[in-house]
């Protein structure tokens, strides 16, 4: 750990704090249909879409209608992405002549990817530059990067409306909300970010892959090969050229971060020098990851009329986030006792020190752990370092962030509505202690809400624990995909299903998840992890909207105080910890103990 590292972390966080208010207020205006400074340019496009799709802007939906529209859109756009991948071999913008995904043999990859991008998970079972044509990247992946994010934001807004409104069953119009989110929030921000990224060296072209002639035309020694390949000897051959992948990356990466999507243009995501070339591009992308989720806390406060509540939620999220950064930074800066003694693992002005396996020199430890924490706190899932190579405790932080339900800022919209589920839970448990039946911002929390909350918090453990358990019992389909043995191998599998059900998309990437078993089961986890939270959330929104709103007073449960933030943190931690502590104790925790005592696998 270094002073400069801490400074970068603090600088980043201060930046985030600064933008929360203006952006949050702007988003509230957008979703309340007020005019903004961009209306002049975007209103015509908005009108065009409404007219073309025959959407009546003024018409509002009840929660069932809202859900149906959401499902219809997800289904149609998901199916479209599936076929786009399968047929990409016959379509234009394919300079590398890549075949359709999943051809000739179906391994579930196209299904997995379609679900993955439609659910805002953006789990990559594939390597971008070796699998996807430029057309698929743009029309399929970039598109879903915008719209799966916009859908998440719509759901959060619908829930906020449900809380803020009274005695109505209308919670907004899905099409209108989704278009506004994409058009007024995501698109302008993406344009600015993409341009800044190109200035730093992110590629944006439609060229075929470049071939470079190497300066040192010699035999490449066998270093750092992928595990499990027994044919390493044959690789001692002359290497004198380098194929350099290209593509329209910047336009996709901008929205990948802003929409907390995380699916990279290239296989290694934002650790790829073309995807994230400089520390500044790194800062920009990091900033983009938490930008909208943080601003949502302000939007929440603004729309429910309690700005202090918004800040209390921000406070709870921020403390969990910073705690994660601290633990991870500490863990990754330490020496690995298994390394030979003559490796210098101590940080200095000229050497990053610490655990540099799977990390880039330009980012060092601080920017890597900051990213790992942010990307998993938000359900972003992009990486600038390889989580699989993290130390046990360093890797526990991103895993725990996902397991806690992606509510530490969380995905755009998804983090907000996920956190609102936890808020309702907190209010329910602790609310009784003030001697009233629980109420949240004047809305009574009753059996129906609890039923939905329980469904929403049950989905994650159900899919994560069951699929992980089944996988570890299957030597062929489950265990053979591991890249690491021992407790770390368990963590790899656990992380995959957590990332799927949590709609995160990051990975302990050593696990070869591009198999029929993992593509299918992780695909299902993503699907259920998304919709079995969205539907209960919309149901809560509808039910809450219909309620009366009890005016708050001295006797009502305070949701604006630091104590509330502490309670919220407590509930998030306890529910998450209680659910996953057993499996974590056999994964990262056991690995930490074994590493300290010098065991390897």
């Amino acid at each position: 750990m270094s002073l400069s590292g801490w400074f970068q972390i603090v600088f980043y966080f201060a930046l985030l704090l600064l933008i929360t208010r203006p952006l949050g207020a702007y988003m509230a205006r957008v979703y309340e249909g007020e005019r903004t400074f961009l209306s002049r340019f975007l209103r015509p496009a908005e009108n065009l879409i409404f007219r073309f799709c025959r959407v009546d802007e003024e018409w509002e939906m009840n929660w069932k209608e809202y859900s149906l529209a959401l499902i219809a859109f997800s289904l149609v756009s998901g199916v479209a992405l599936f076929f786009l991948q399968r047929l990409q071999g016959y379509l234009p913008l394919n300079p590398q002549d890549l075949p359709g995904v999943d051809s000739p043999d179906y391994t579930g990859s196209s299904f997995n990817t379609a679900v993955s991008f439609m659910t805002n998970t953006n789990w990559q079972g594939y390597g971008g530059e070796t699998t996807m044509t430029y057309l698929t990247q743009m029309m399929g992946l970039t598109y879903q990067n915008f719209f799966s994010a916009a859908v998440g934001m719509s759901v959060a807004i619908a829930l906020i409306r449900g809380i803020a409104r009274r005695e109505t069953d209308h919670i907004g119009n899905f099409w209108v909300d989704t278009v506004r989110g994409a058009l007024y929030v995501l698109l302008p921000a993406s344009l600015i970010l993409a341009l800044l990224l190109v200035s730093q060296g992110v590629v944006q072209n439609l060229n075929p892959y470049e071939t470079a002639t190497l300066a040192d035309e010699s035999t490449m020694a066998q270093i750092g090969n992928e595990s499990g390949s027994g044919d390493s000897v044959e690789l001692k051959q002359a290497v004198n050229t380098q194929t350099i992948a290209q593509g329209p990356a910047a336009s996709q990466i901008a929205i990948k971060q802003l929409g907390t999507n995380g699916g990279g243009f290239f296989n290694v995501n934002s650790s790829h020098p073309f995807e994230n070339p400089t520390p500044f591009s790194n800062l920009l992308q990091l900033f983009a990851i938490l930008l909208i989720p943080a601003a949502f806390t302000y939007t929440l406060g603004r729309m429910v009329g309690s700005q202090k509540h918004g800040w209390a939620v921000f406070g709870a999220m921020a403390s969990l986030f910073l705690a994660g950064v601290i633990v991870s930074y500490w863990a990754e800066s330490r020496s690995n006792p298994l390394f030979p003694g003559n490796v210098d693992q101590i940080a200095s002005e000229t050497s990053p020190g610490g655990n540099m396996e799977g990390k880039e020199t330009r980012f060092g430890i601080a920017n890597s752990v900051l990213w790992a924490t942010a990307t998993t706190a938000a359900s972003n899932g992009s990486v600038n370092s390889m989580h699989d190579s993290y130390t046990p405790l360093g890797g526990l932080v991103p895993l725990a962030n996902i397991l806690l339900g992606e509510v530490i800022f969380g995905g755009v919209g998804a983090g907000m509505y996920g956190m609102l589920v936890f808020i309702i839970l907190t209010v329910f448990i602790a609310g009784l202690m003030v001697g009233r039946t629980p109420e949240y911002l004047g809305k009574k929390i009753e059996a129906f809400e609890m039923k939905m909350v329980v469904i929403a918090i049950l989905v994650m453990p159900l899919f994560i624990l069951s699929f992980t358990a089944i996988s570890v019992l299957m030597p062929e389909a489950g265990l053979s995909s591991r890249n690491n043995l021992g407790p770390h191998g368990l963590t790899e599998i656990l992380y995959a299903f957590s990332s799927g059900a949590g709609n995160n998309g990051s990975a302990f990437a050593g696990l070869n998840a591009n198999t029929l078993w993992y593509n299918t089961t992780i695909g299902l986890s993503m699907l259920f992890g998304r919709f079995f939270i969205i539907l209960p959330v919309l149901a809560i929104a509808g039910n809450m909207a219909a309620k009366k709103r009890v005016p708050s007073g001295a006797g009502t449960f305070p949701v604006t105080t630091p104590l509330f933030a502490v309670l919220l943190v407590g509930v998030v931690l306890i529910v998450g910890a209680l659910t996953f502590f057993p499996v974590l104790s056999l994964g990262p925790i056991l690995e930490q103990f074994l590493m300290s005592s010098g065991e390897s696998f």
Binding site: L432, R436, M450, P461, R549, I574, P582
Partner: protein, 682 residues
């Protein structure tokens, strides 16, 4: 009825212990998913144990350990059942007292042709008419249609002083099981057998007709959800253990599961609910449903009748204010004379004030001479007074006297107007005295506010509860009394319709309203209010309309009812929080114990330093069972309640039950570990 029953009543404990075994019936246990899971776990480990006794099961070496765990699992279920049985037992004891009152009453039925016929009280039907004489029990709920009697209602209220019951008006309702002390009344029966008030009370306090309240249902959903999550966590732990080459025995997994699921609150939840009703009963209040008790905790607005609740029932004369031209003593004398036959408390207070302040002895009535004539108050004149010796003295409300002195519409002297206004503004009731159609001055009748009310209202305000005073007084008077009593708002010149409108308005704004009432014209408002407390002295209609009945007929009790409601909810929340926080320590006891053998490094997680894996698991299970027993008194008595703002209450309770819930089990488990190790149980 009102006798307090100690928690440690031996009879109840014995009965409860027996009931807790009967409650093991799985069909009954199903109602409580958390404890049902424990029972299934206990059953499974018993079967395993029995199998181990018959055939040698490899790997089940520590059979002493398994036996002990199995026993403690059963104890866990029994303890939870015991808590519920205890709560019910206390209710049953109350019910027995009531039942005695009910038994073996005979009724003197007046038949169609006017004869009196003796039948058993249980055969009475609605609309039968019975006659009850002194010394007899009233055979059923009804309404007095003829006569006046003093009635001993102590069987119901615990109040030994007899009450008057008479035909017509708001004191006509009588309750079955009460005894007539004097005179004879005719009563029309208003309920069918088995539906009497007494019957309902019995079933209420016994908890027989108890249904889960809305909040209880919601909490149960959460507890069931948590149980499923932990079931998942534990079931999937076995594959992970196999992966890690450290497979677990079934009994250890069951132990972990039972320790993790929220058994503490699951076991005590229904006891808390029953005990809440019971606490109301001890305050002589009967809630018709648990829902009403919960609603009481949620009340935002209290509608309180001024008279009898905020002020003492009666106004008292506190000053004679004479017109400038009149001698004060003269006014006092006239006032006294006019009130000599006025037996109302106000009238008497005028006589007393005149005596105390001006030394005017109450004149004997006969000394007034032969020709004296008292003019009683009438609704028509709205005045009372006396005529004698050519003197014609009248007292009454200002408009009535104005009409009396100047029937043609001339106004009273401005000085009088001024005094009247001044009195009204300071919260008093001005009573104008006139002699021979000439005004003399004003008697200042003052409302006396009950002691300590201001403090109570302050407390209520700090809890976020608004108090609204309801009064028939004019707005000026009402405002002044409201100010003095410290209520937040008032409704003056209130008619039953006004009251109803106010309740509706409050409810439309999302507030919950509580009120007390007794008259028939209160019934609609009582029904509309979220918490409607009917006075036991009130009419049957009022009792039917409300959802609680105060047997003491003390409207001030509304405040206590709210507090009891809050205490019930707080107890529920506190124990839930406690139960969930407990799990952290249990993890630190059991998880290292499970894997320490395969991975000695896991010892680092054994932060309590428990002796051995078996002692660690056993200690956690024992703690889990004992904590239920330990918390029974808390569940029955309720957590300590103080009138504080919500944020303060939360802070306090989080500290005690949240943080306490984290820390206590660490200490408890360690302690149990030390004990069972030293006595050689493991």
């Amino acid at each position: 009825m009102a006798t307090k029953i100690s928690i440690w009543n031996r009879k109840i404990i014995t009965q409860a212990a027996m009931d807790s075994v009967l409650k093991l019936d799985p069909r009954k246990m199903m109602r409580n998913p958390v404890m049902f899971v424990v029972e299934v776990g206990a059953l499974l480990s018993s079967l395993q144990l029995i199998r181990g006794l018959i055939v040698e099961v490899p790997g089940s070496g520590g059979s002493s350990f398994e036996t002990q765990i199995t026993f403690w699992l059963w104890f866990t279920v029994l303890f939870a059942n015991f808590a519920e049985a205890m709560a019910e037992g206390r209710g049953k004891a109350q019910a027995d007292t009531l039942r005695r009152a009910k038994s073996e009453t005979t009724a003197n039925l007046i038949t169609q042709d006017g004869r009196v016929e003796q039948i058993a009280a249980t055969e009475l039907k609605k609309d039968d008419v019975v006659v009850v004489s002194a010394g007899e029990f009233i055979p059923g709920d009804g309404e007095v249609i003829e006569g006046v009697a003093s009635v001993d209602e102590s069987a119901i209220t615990g109040e030994s002083a007899p009450v008057i019951r008479e035909a017509g008006g708001d004191r006509s309702a009588v309750t079955g099981g009460t005894r007539v002390l004097s005179d004879q009344i005719k009563v029309r029966i208003t309920s069918n057998p088995g539906e009497t008030f007494l019957d309902r009370m019995i079933s209420l306090v016994e908890g027989a007709s108890r249904q889960k309240t809305p909040n209880e249902i919601a909490l149960n959903i959460l507890l069931a959800g948590l149980t499923i999550i932990f079931l998942l966590a534990v079931v999937t732990l076995q594959p992970f253990s196999i992966y890690s080459n450290a497979p677990q025995t079934a009994i250890v997994l069951i132990s972990l599961l039972v320790c993790l699921i929220p058994t503490t609150i699951g076991g005590l939840l229904s006891a808390i609910g029953i005990a809440g009703m019971d606490r109301l009963v001890q305050h002589n209040v009967l809630a018709m449903s648990g829902r009403a008790v919960e609603a009481a905790g949620d009340v935002n607005t209290l509608l309180l009748d001024k008279t009898g609740t905020i002020t003492l029932g009666n106004r008292q004369a506190s000053e004679f204010i004479a017109l400038p031209s009149v001698d004060e003593a003269h006014l006092a004398e006239a006032a006294q004379l006019s009130s000599l036959s006025d037996e109302t408390p106000e009238g008497r207070s005028i006589v007393v004030l005149a005596k105390e302040k001006y030394g005017l002895r109450g004149r004997e009535i006969h000394k007034l001479g032969e020709g004296h004539k008292f003019i009683p108050f009438s609704a028509n004149t709205r005045m009372s007074g006396v005529d004698f010796d050519e003197r014609e003295i009248r007292k009454g409300a200002v408009d009535a006297i104005e009409h009396y002195i100047a029937p043609n519409g001339e106004t009273a002297p401005p000085e009088l107007q001024e005094i009247v206004e001044r009195v009204a503004r300071s919260g008093g009731t001005p009573l104008v005295v006139a002699e021979n159609r000439t005004p003399l001055g004003v008697i200042y009748l003052k409302d006396i506010i009950k002691g300590g009310m201001r403090d109570r209202f302050d407390h209520l305000r700090s809890m976020g509860i608004r108090t609204v005073m309801i009064t028939g007084d004019n707005p000026l008077t009402a405002a002044s009394i409201a100010e003095e009593a410290g209520v937040d708002d008032f409704l003056a010149e209130a008619t039953p319709e006004d009251k109803m409108a106010l309740i509706r308005k409050e409810q439309a704004e999302g507030r919950l309203v509580a009120m007390a009432g007794d008259g028939t014209n209160d019934a609609p408002a009582l029904a509309q209010a979220d918490v409607g407390v009917a006075m036991n002295t009130g009419t049957q209609a009022a009792k039917e309309a409300g959802n609680m009945v105060d047997l003491d007929s003390n409207p001030t009790k509304l405040i206590e009812i709210v507090e009891i409601g809050k205490q019930l909810l707080m107890t529920r929340g506190a124990l839930t929080t406690f139960s969930i926080s407990n799990d952290v320590a249990k993890y630190f006891a059991i998880i290292p114990a499970m894997f320490m053998i395969s991975y000695p490094q896991m010892q680092a997680l054994n932060i309590m330093g428990l002796t051995s894996p078996t002692s660690a698991i056993l200690s956690a299970v024992i703690f889990n069972a004992l904590v239920i027993i330990a918390l029974i008194p808390l569940a029955l008595k309720g957590v300590e309640y103080r009138a504080l703002p919500a944020s303060k209450l939360l802070q306090k309770n989080i500290l005690i039950y949240g943080l306490g819930g984290l820390i206590v089990p660490f200490i408890g488990i360690k302690l149990i570990d030390v004990i069972i190790t030293s006595i050689g149980l493991v």
